[in-house]
């Protein structure tokens, strides 16, 4: 779960990393008092749950209150990087002598955190890697052993930092690592770490991405799903423990397991259809969960056909079948629906669906089922002309 910039900065500040004075606001009415508190000139920064904001025009500057009002008015509710801006961070505008990059990511292949440091900042780290690899240091760490001050000092020294600046920057990098570990982050980034004319470092932009699977032990991190997802179906899916991604077509896709669901959506496209969504149930299929999944996908008015593709390992398939029926009986959608379901007690599940008039594909190959779905879809679209 990627935190908003202002949320990330609050955590960094609490950990002793200097950040600019700033306040996040959601409506224009709060701007004048905020600007008065921060002092002009200000930076006005769209709060988005994704990176790449600067390039997309999500950061504005203002040296008068009038400018600040007009820039903020333009920014709020604007679509940037596919997300609607719901809040902006008003911050003191800082002047940079230098800009550095500090980041910690997880190396997926070796399963260790990697520390990254560059004396070039304010741009995407991938661009630094491409254009100035000689000033980008990355160092693998050892999660059990931890990271020591002397190691960070060595990293910062190797790019020419000296004296008090060396101490200040290496302390910040070390603190960032502590935040990364303490918050169960998958990404902790300060970009840029600005160095003022007086040689003081300040984290003017920062991003923390907290592992979704670890949120249970971070009840202090308040997450506003509505501020993040903005798509009502997706918010409700997340609340029910379902992963939902909206696509641009008209065929609903529900699958058990992410790989199978992605493959199913790919196949719908290969057979000439356009998936409206990706909805994945995860491993723990129950009657309630299937009811919820079907209900969520059918809430989307674009849907003209629905394909459900399930494999049951541990979970009994008859409860999945009952959940599907429960949703269909409530909603009576009137569009073609096809279910393919394999695994634990499959015969009983097929019987339950077929007796209720829901077509079932008994073949194990998803391709055959998708071909049949497309026939049903064509028939339905012709009939409704």
């Amino acid at each position: 779960m990627r935190l908003f910039e202002h949320e990330s900065k609050r955590i960094l500040k609490d950990s002793g990393i200097p950040v600019p004075n700033g306040l996040a606001i959601k409506c224009l009415d709060d701007l004048p008092s905020t600007v008065e508190e921060i002092g002009l000139p200000v930076a006005i920064k769209a709060q988005l749950p994704v990176g790449g904001r600067g390039k997309a025009g999500g950061i504005r500057f203002a040296s008068t209150l009038e400018e600040a009002l007009s820039e903020t008015r333009n920014l709020i509710d604007e679509m940037i990087g596919g997300h609607r801006v719901k809040s902006v961070l008003i911050e003191e505008k800082m002047v940079a002598r230098d800009e550095y990059y500090l980041g910690i990511i997880i190396d997926q292949l070796s399963g260790v955190p990697i520390l990254m440091f560059s004396t070039r900042g304010g741009v995407d780290v991938n661009d630094i890697a491409k254009e100035n690899p000689e000033i980008l240091i990355s160092r693998r760490t050892n999660i059990s052993r931890g990271l020591f001050q002397f190691e960070v000092l060595d990293i910062c020294r190797s790019l020419g930092l000296k004296g008090t600046l060396l101490l200040k920057v290496s302390r910040i990098l070390h603190k960032l690592y502590e935040v990364f570990v303490r918050c169960d982050a998958v990404l902790a980034e300060i970009n840029p770490l600005l160095i003022t004319d007086e040689g003081e470092p300040c984290a003017v932009d920062a991003a923390l991405d907290i592992d979704d699977n670890a949120l249970f032990r971070h009840s202090d991190v308040e997450l506003d799903l509505e501020m993040r997802f903005q798509d009502e179906i997706r918010i409700d899916a997340a609340r029910s423990g379902l992963s939902y991604v909206r696509l641009d077509g008209d065929i609903g896709v529900i699958g058990s397991g992410a790989g199978l669901t992605m493959a199913t959506a790919d196949l719908v496209k290969d057979f000439g259809g356009r998936p409206a969504n990706f909805l994945e149930t995860g491993g723990g299929i129950t009657e309630e969960l299937m009811d919820r999944a079907v209900e969520l996908v059918l809430r989307d008015e674009r849907i003209r056909a629905l394909f459900i593709n399930l494999y049951g390992g541990i979970n009994p398939m008859p409860s999945a079948a009952k959940g599907i029926l429960r949703a269909l009986e409530k909603l009576r959608p009137g569009i073609p629906i096809l279910v393919k379901l394999v695994g634990n007690q499959q015969e009983e599940a097929w019987g339950i669906l077929e007796r209720a008039g829901v077509p079932v594909v008994r073949d194990i190959q998803t391709e055959k089922a998708v071909a049949k779905l497309m026939d049903l879809y064509e028939e339905y679209m012709c009939a409704s002309l």
């Binding site: 699977n213 990706f278 994945e280 995860g282 494999y311 049951g312």
Partner: protein
Amino acid sequence: MLEYGSRIVAGVTPGKAGIAIHGVPVYDTVKEAVMKHPAHASILFVPAPLTRDAVTEAVDSGIKLLVVITEHIPVHDVMHMREYCESAGVAMIGPTTPGIISPGKTKIGIMPASVFVEGEVGVVSRSGTLLYEVAGNLSSAGIGQSSCLGIGADLVVGTNMKEILRLFEEDEHTRLVTIVGEIGGAQEEEAAIFIESKMKKPVIAYVAGRLAPSGEKMGHAGAIVMGERGDAMAKMEILGKAGVDIANKPSEIVDIAKVHL
């Protein structure tokens, strides 16, 4: 697993010592269980917040192969688990894996056994249910499998795809290997380097998620395209350049396999 013929010698659930389930005795601790019943492998269904604890216990009790079925384990815990297993010379498969099956021989996993048939194709997958789909496609065309497993769908897993390919390359029961990949991470890219430099056996690959938009997490923690990195087409291209036969649909895996067998 018992039905499939796997020799399950003991179960461990703290507080449940003394009972038996389907004739298998249950113990409070792994140490006690392995003292009475020497075991080579352990399958873990422990809830996510406790899995690191259970993995550490299993390693300390001398078990050399761990299959971690549990989903949604914090990735920092997985990093610790991986490091601890590596330092003790223990192989960890998963987390978020359906396990391992050698059709006709044994299984340590939760996969529906009916879709697997004994034969000569090794299948390694990132996803669980997509593994069943591919094995099912092969089986219904009369092509059996030597061993099939999911490496797990998390950001970090205990054993990378490359390591499984190394085992298949050495395995006398495997003539042909199929990779079932998906978007995100770099497992397929690392595998491609290994295949090009070290593998003699033919390899087929199928990669799911061509439709996935960039920046969206597609269900699995590891399934996310960042910019162009990790996208399905790029993975297929890299594998193709390494000499792997690319299947665009699960049924094409069958067509290609028939040519090789």
